[in-house]
Symmetry: C2
Subunit: 342 residues, 2 copies
């Protein structure tokens, strides 16, 4: 069933039917009713590809999903998608996901943009000096970046959390508790958030003339296994750190296992603060020792970005171009005063 058939059925022109459907004012209310009724009866749905071709609008947001055989999937991606979806479903938008090798991100993003399949782009997994930025600017298609790109001029639309501030505050809390030996369990080194979090830690330490030893930093995928491994390494250091900053509750999971296995007590021998993306499957308050965290909902960020993107496409008023969300520092039991030097 297409427009033509429907209009023949009604004895109207395609024009009128189309207008009736799209809410144009110049069509008689009675006629519109009749059309709407027929749509219900026939189950007619406009062909999106044709609509897209005619209007240039597709009602969709494009994103690139990094994937490859052996490439670990990322919980954060799913959670973020849920946030995007929550908002998109309200506006009858959908997503076009282009899977791409992580090494091929720039090209994949360009393909997606040029394909004419999407109205706007969402970009994540930002790196330092990210090469996608230049391409996006040349594209004349709305986009929002989740995160930022360290080292690039911040002249693009983004939504980010204050990673540096979060880890600065967390570090200060631990300093106030008397800790002096710190370790950082971070995400992959090339990613922007990892760089900023590290900087946050370092600048808080610098204020006390402390430094972060190379041995006390781990950059790795954020899985519980990596958390376990990193923590085991830290614990074997001659000068064992007592304060751990951790880029994800998933990493913390493994880290805590290592702490337990070493016979140490969390919140006493070892203090730990993790960043909490508010993943529904892992609540910091339910850990056997509830976790002190810096918190910011990944899902909320997704919903907000979808809102901005869809709003821009629909030309529904201006949106702030750049948003920096503060994180909350929530103190629970995994942090405590530094143990007396043994």
């Amino acid at each position: 069933m297409n427009l033509k058939q429907l209009s023949e059925l009604l004895g109207l022109s395609q024009t009128t039917v189309s207008r009736a459907l799209n809410g144009y004012p110049e069509v008689n209310e009675a006629t519109r009713e009749r059309v709407l009724q027929a749509v219900k009866e026939t189950g007619y749905r406009p062909n999106k590809a044709a609509q897209r071709l005619a209007t240039g609008k597709a009602g969709s947001i494009g994103l690139v999903m990094p994937t490859a055989p052996g490439h670990q999937s990322d919980v954060h991606f799913g959670e973020f998608l849920a946030g995007l979806g929550e908002e998109a479903v309200r506006h009858d938008f959908h997503f076009v996901i282009m899977p791409a090798d992580p090494d091929d991100e720039v090209a994949a993003l360009r393909r997606l943009a040029i394909s004419g399949n999407v109205d706007a782009l969402f970009v994540a997994y930002m790196r330092g000096h990210d090469p996608r930025l230049a391409m996006l600017k040349s594209l004349s298609m709305p986009y929002v970046v989740h995160g930022r790109s360290f080292g690039s001029e911040p002249d693009y639309p983004f939504l980010d959390i204050d990673n540096e501030g979060a880890f600065y505050d967390a570090t200060r809390l631990l300093l106030q508790l008397g800790h002096t030996r710190f370790a950082l369990m971070n995400g992959p080194m090339h990613l922007d958030f990892a760089i900023r979090r590290r900087n946050g830690v370092m600048s808080a330490l610098a204020e006390r003339r402390l430094t972060l030893d190379e041995d006390c930093v781990s950059h790795a995928l954020m899985t519980d296994e990596q958390g376990l491994l990193a923590m085991e390494r830290f614990l074997q250091l001659p000068e064992r750190p007592t304060a751990i900053l951790c880029s994800s509750t998933v990493l913390a999971l493994g880290a805590i296992r290592a702490v337990n296995q070493a016979g140490l007590r969390l919140g006493e021998d070892i203090s730990l603060i993790a960043h909490d993306d508010v993943l529904p499957l892992l609540k910091p308050e339910n850990f056997s020792v509830p976790l002190t965290t810096t918190r910011s909902s990944l899902r909320a960020a997704g919903a907000r970005i979808a809102q901005r993107l869809i709003g821009t496409v629909k030309q529904a008023g201006p949106f702030p171009d750049q948003e920096l969300w503060k994180t909350e520092l929530i103190v629970r039991s995994s942090t405590g005063p530094a143990p007396q030097r043994s």
Copy 2:
């Protein structure tokens, strides 16, 4: 840059250029070279919407993502997507994801199919007597169901794991170890896999004239929090179960926390077998007490389904319509002989 411009630039007709691009044999090799060269120089990309309109093929797989404010996102969804993506990227396919309220799945799926945006559908989160099945059959669009629908005639293309067999085997192992008091920590009751796993447990128990008490079954979202809560409930039962079957390693995470908090030892006081979807963020072998599991890679299932779907769209040979994958039962340390009756 569109086809017309490109062909004018080359002094060829649109037909010839189109054919050259799409690998038709009736075009001179020299001409094809020239066209390919021009494409490189101009960066021309065909408009997908137009292609879709003309051919009826979109190069995309559609799926519905259940979402709503407050609706928990699901790790399994992301992992599955990674599997689909891994295969799709090889064939230059993409995904169209339609977010939809979980109560609106049937309608959302139909909208997606009729929109003309996708060539094939992937359907998950199957329920008992799933109403989507009838709709899919009426659709004349290829689809593959992940899972099955308990209570419906299995006359549709699917890929499923042998949930019943997995939990039957797991239960038998525990029976052989002398356990008699069982509990099952399952996913949401209406979902097909939950029904089958429960049946697997019950039929193994029935062979020994044992039953599964209502109090010893929990149906809930598969998060660590629900695992914790369910296990706490089980542990307070007057006749405490000693053998726990668990539908996910994520649930197991919480469950084990509860076991520890109760001062019980996993693998001694309590034996536990969990189903392992091979989520990259949670490896059963890294648990403080490595977990005995039934294993089947969700990601591999995703890749296989993508393969079938894409193959069907491209008419690349017939695929088996129905696949039932066996799971592996991997014994680690979380299972042990039943403790002596105290």
